[in-house]
Symmetry: C2
Subunit: 112 residues, 2 copies
DNA sequence: CCGACATACCTAGTACTACGAGGTATATAT
DNA sequence: ATATATACCTCGTAGTACTAGGTATGTCGG
């Protein structure tokens, strides 16, 4: 019996990270703030969420990382791999489906 | 320190169930099919998801149930309580926030 | 100089959800 | 008789997201 499907609405943090990294290479701490910014504070992921997701994405081959030293501090920059781009596409379609499904349910008229 | 916030994007099954029960009283098996229907197959929750959520909602006072015998089979009908209505409102606002946040992130232009 | 704060990384442990698989029982259709 | 649809249920698992911590460096104010 095949693979276990992931919970159908999870992976939003993953989606956001992949999407941001599609636009330009960024490092973890920067991503934490970028998510707040781009979502107008609607979504605020802590470092305890972001770092583990980045690590698991890298472990899965969706991201590649390189360390850079800037002002004496070490930053770990992440870039999207081909695999990561595919993963992003899949997650985006998935999200679209869920989003439209929920919208349909919420907007459904009270058929009296 | 205070209460633990639930994972920010969870509760979609809960949201859908509460929303459907806001419109009319329904029983579990009926809800399973109604969700498929109203979401145009975009979301398909199994009985293993629906029943436990119904039970926990009832335990939390959001739903009330009454058993009815129809054609020799027993159905458990659920209705929304005042508490349930409030919970629905909260979840709906929460969803709206997440949804618009994700949309903003996905639609953000690649600022070259 | 020292404390506070921002930057920048990390992990452990927990809580909760959603899910699949299975199990019971009755009615209906073949 | 057998299969399918109805209608309920629970157990065990997987996996996510979250809080709370911990390390280390640079900078700014007093």
């Amino acid at each position: 019996m095949g693979q276990t499907n992931p919970p159908f609405m999870s992976g939003v943090p993953e989606l956001l990270l992949l999407r941001l990294l599609e636009q330009r290479e960024m490092y973890g701490y920067e991503l934490v703030k970028a998510i707040r910014l781009v979502t107008s504070e609607a979504i605020a992921l802590g470092e305890g969420v972001v770092y583990p997701v980045l690590h698991s994405l890298e472990a899965g081959g969706a991201l590649r990382s390189k360390r850079k030293k800037v002002d004496g501090r070490t930053r770990v920059y992440y870039t999207l791999s081909t695999k990561g781009k595919k993963r992003l596409d899949r997650l985006q379609i998935e999200w679209q489906r869920i989003q439209s499904g929920v919208s349909a349910a919420l907007e459904a008229p009270d058929n009296a």
